[in-house]
Structures are given as structure tokens and as C-alpha cells.
Amino acid sequence: MKKALLYGALTATAFAVLFPLLFSLSLALQGETVSPHLWPDPTKLDFGVFAQVFRKEPLLGRWMLNSWVVSVAVTAGQLLVSILAAYPLALFQFRGKSVVFFLFLASFMVPWESTILPNYLTIAHWGWKDSYQALIVPFLATGFGIFLLRQAFLIVPAELREAADMEGCGRSRFLWSILVPLTKPALATLGIWAFLNTWNQYYWPLLVVDNPVWRTTQVGITAFRSNEIASYNLPMAATIVVLLPTVLVLFAGQKQLVEGLTAGAVKG
């Protein structure tokens, strides 16, 4: 009896949480109609809409490619820049360390939206509008990534460093062949976080892209929705199509992401 109640509650909440997604799927499959119903007629489901959406908006494929290129490049770049910066911050003694520490912490405090105006002017001045570099380069350094990796590097035992040092293992070899392989979980966390965030960006791509060819999927689907205001099935199908990559990344890396992000918050 108690168990049945629990399953009832779980199913009801699951349905509520899923409702917007089920609803979008329902609208997508109902064909072109001005007055769609809440649920489709199961005998008249129109799966052709997912192919139709690529015909109706020939750039959709290009937008997805753009999002992949930008997200992968930003993820790789953030990993590289963060690994390099976190290394001396965690393991070296050098003059000016506290200043650098403060600067990185300060970068945390400046919200991206506060710098968006001068950044836009810079990118426009460099003639970078409508290009991959405009979408990639401003996001390559992240205070979050540097601190996350610094924390991970600190956990590597001091004896290991001393042993490596005595065996004449060079500084750069120690980083790439010992430290990086040892901290794969933190690197994976940063990678997934960077990918999801970049894929989901909207404000910046909206500003620096004029030519529709350079749109990312997020800007693309919202523009597509405004153009297709008369029908519901196409915008919904387009939205579902662009959701798939992040859904896959998330289900592949969900456990990793949560463990990495909450290591500090949960364990204290």
C-alpha cells in the first residue's frame, strides 16, 4: 500500500516534469495545423516532420555544425588553458603568486554580461563578426576551470612530486604524464561543464552573428520559430533535433559531472 502510494507520487511528478517535452513532441507530430490538440491522434502521427524541418530550413545542418565546432573548440581550449594555469598555482612557489591568485578570483567576480558591450566593440573592431573565432576565443579562459583543476592538482601527494623531482622528471613531463592522467575525473567534469555551457550560449552568438550562416543552433531555432509563426510542428521538431546532442552528452557524463561539481559542496 505504501509502496503503491510512492509509485503513484513518483509517476505523477515524473509526468509533470516531462510535460513540456511530451507536449513539444506532441505538437511536432501533429502535422501542419493552426489549432493543435493537447495530445495527437495516435493513428495520424507525422514522423516525416523531422526530415521536413531540414528541407524547410536548409541551414539547420550548418547551425548544428557551427555549434559542434564552437563547443568542441571552447571545451578543448578551456581544458588546455586551465591545466596550464592551474599547474603553477597548485604546485609552484613563485613571486607574485598571491597577485595572480587574486586576479583569477577577481575574474570570477566579473559577470560576462558586464563586459559584453566592450567585448562586442573589440570583436567588431577586429573584423571578427561572423566567424568562428568570435564565438570561441573570448571564452577560452575560465576562473571556474582554473580553480577546479588547482583543487584537483593539490590532492596529488607531495611524495610523488619529490620522487619525480629526484628522478629528474622535468616540469612539463610531470604535468602531462603524471598530473593530467591522475586528475582525469576533474578534467572530465570541466569538459562536460564547458561543452554544455558553450552549446547553450545565446546572448553572445546573437550579437556577433549577422549572417545566418554563422548562427549557432540556439540562435537558429529561435529565429526559425519567429519565421514559422503560423505552424507549430516545424519549430517544435527543430527544437527536438537540436536538443539531442546535449541529451547524449549529459547521459554519457551525468555521473561524472555531478560528482565533480558537488565534491566541494557535498563533502564540505
Binding site: K3, L10, T11, T13, A14, V17, P20, L21, F23, S24, L38, L80, V81, S82, L84, A85, P88, Q93, F94, K97, V100, L103, F104, A106, S107, M109, V110, P111, W112, E113, S114, T115, I116, L117, P118, N119, V137, F139, L140, A141, I146, E162, D165, R171, N200, Y202, Y203, Q218, I221, T222, R225, Y232, P235, V242, V247, Q254, V258, T262, A265, G268
Partner: protein, 294 residues
């Protein structure tokens, strides 16, 4: 021996450290610090619309306008923008935390098939704000007659955007809280049971106190996220909203910058946004010292 090697290392490391740090420092200088200082500078000037250069000293003029001091042109009410941002945050953050906590407590039980429910509760984490906003714009669409005036009524518009935002936030908050609940040692619950503590008492005396670091983490991330909200307002409303009721700070910034090319004013709004988030961070930093870390 050990000490000698540390000394040797530290002397050699000075130059090397800066080589490793260089990419991050250059990128921060170009895309974080310089732009921020530039925004600070522009916020005190009338800015030339073509060259984007400061043209004439304007002092605290823009700030006076933002805080409704002195004359307000055209009945502008910019303080309202700040108030709306706070209202939006106060709608989104508690609902996200309470909703996600309820889901996490429900999904923490170990029964057959719980994995499916957990995956469903996490699903919104994979959905971008832009996609979620497109989906919800159709839920709110007048043609469908479910919530047809939600976005056009000045009393409900902000709530409608908040509801969409809560839904989008739920997945992340849920999975973080579930991890937090699972990290609580089992014997704590068992001994509470032996002592005859009911489920409500266990929740208030054991679960919530032990979850407080996790809740604080979510409080910080969702508050900052709400203050920076833009995408959902652009996609769902795309204006200042009915009777200006959804003109949050970042949207006002977008309008000043993008629509009106009023760069000095946009820069001043940027600085105000920075200051508000800084104050929030400091408050939360103080709170951090008070939560239980056991």
C-alpha cells in the same frame, strides 16, 4: 635532501610559472579586465555612436538616471528594472530549491525502477534555456488556449517566465541534491529511527542540516543565474513586457546597448549589475561560514 630539492625547485620556477600562466592572463586581460575597466570608464561619458569613443564627460549622470535621482526622461523608471530582477530571483530561487528538494527526497528511496524516475527528473539539465523558452512560448501561445494571456498580462508575465526558468533549473538542482542526500551516512537515519523520530523530525533535524552546504551551493548558483537571466526574456517576451513588468536588468542593458545604441548608459547598467552580484557574493560568503560542514 627533500628540503634541498624544494629550494632548488622554487628558484627555477619563477620564470616557468609565468610561462604557464601567460595564456590565461592574456585572455583575462583582453576579455575580462580590460572590457570591465572600459565599461567603467564609458559609464561616466557621453559616448560617440560611430567611433564608440568617450566624447563628453557625463559624471554620475547615468547612475542618477538608473536610481531615479533627478529628472527622469520620458517617465523612465530604471529602479524598477532592479526591483524586477530581485522579484524574478525571489520567484525562481525558492521554487527551484523546494521543488528540487521534494523531487530528491522522493527519488532517494531505493525501490525497483527508481533509476528511470531519476533520469526523468534530471532531464531538464540537458535542455538549453533557448530551447526551453521556445517550447514554453508554445505552451503560452494564445492559439492553444491553455495559458493564453500568461505573457501579455502584467500580473502574470514575470511569473510565467519564472515558471519556465524553474523548470529549466530543476534538473541540475535535483541531481545535486540527490547526490547530497546519498552522501548522508545511513546509520544516522537508522539511529534516528531507533530513537523513535518520525519522518518530519528526521527531515528537520538530520537531512536538512546535513544538506545545508549543498543547499547553499544551489542558492548561490541559482541566484547568480537569475540575476543574469536574459535568454528566456528575449525569446518569450522580446520587449520590456506588459507595463514594463518583465524589464529585468540584463534585458534593459540589451535594449540600451543594442536597440538604442546608448553605450554610456549600457555601460553604467553593466557596472550596476557587477556591483549587485558582488554584494550578493559577499553576503553568501559570510553565510558560508555559518552552515554545517560535518
Amino acid at each position: 635532501m627533500g628540503r634541498m630539492s624544494v629550494v632548488r625547485l622554487s628558484r627555477k620556477n619563477d620564470a616557468a610559472a609565468w610561462v604557464y600562466l601567460a595564456p590565461a592572463l592574456v585572455l583575462f586581460a583582453l576579455f575580462t579586465f580590460w572590457p570591465f575597466l572600459r565599461a567603467l570608464q564609458l559609464s561616466f561619458f557621453l559616448v560617440d555612436r560611430n567611433s564608440f569613443e568617450p566624447a563628453k564627460w557625463f559624471g554620475l549622470g547615468y547612475y542618477a538616471r538608473i536610481f531615479n535621482l533627478g529628472e527622469t526622461a520620458l517617465g523612465d523608471d530604471w529602479v524598477r528594472s532592479i526591483v524586477t530582477t530581485f522579484q524574478f530571483t525571489l520567484m525562481v530561487v525558492p521554487l527551484t530549491l523546494v521543488g528540487a528538494l521534494a523531487l530528491a527526497l522522493l527519488a532517494a528511496t531505493k525501490i525497483k525502477g527508481i533509476g528511470v524516475y531519476r533520469t526523468i527528473f534530471t532531464s531538464s539539465l540537458a535542455i538549453s534555456l533557448a530551447s526551453a523558452a521556445v517550447i514554453w512560448s508554445l505552451i503560452y501561445s494564445p492559439d492553444l488556449k491553455f495559458f493564453d494571456h500568461a505573457l501579455t498580462d502584467k500580473h502574470s508575465a514575470l511569473w510565467a517566465v519564472a515558471a519556465m526558468t524553474v523548470w529549466t533549473n530543476l534538473g541540475f538542482a535535483f541531481i545535486v541534491l540527490l547526490a547530497g542526500i546519498q552522501a548522508i551516512p545511513k546509520d544516522l537515519w537508522e539511529s534516528a529511527k531507533i530513537d523513535g523520530a518520525g519522518p518530519r523530525r528526521t527531515l528537520w533535524r538530520i537531512t536538512l542540516p546535513l544538506l545545508s552546504p549543498t543547499l547553499l551551493f544551489l542558492l548561490i548558483t541559482s541566484t547568480i543565474g537569475s540575476f543574469q537571466a536574459f535568454t528566456q526574456f528575449k525569446v518569450l517576451i522580446d520587449s520590456v513586457g506588459p507595463d514594463q513588468s518583465t524589464n529585468v536588468l540584463v534585458y534593459a542593458l540589451f535594449t540600451a546597448f543594442w536597440t538604442e545604441n546608448n553605450y554610456g548608459f549600457a555601460a553604467a547598467l553593466s557596472v550596476v549589475l557587477f556591483a549587485l552580484l558582488l554584494v550578493l557574493s559577499l553576503v553568501q560568503y559570510r553565510l558560508d561560514g555559518r552552515v554545517h560542514y560535518q
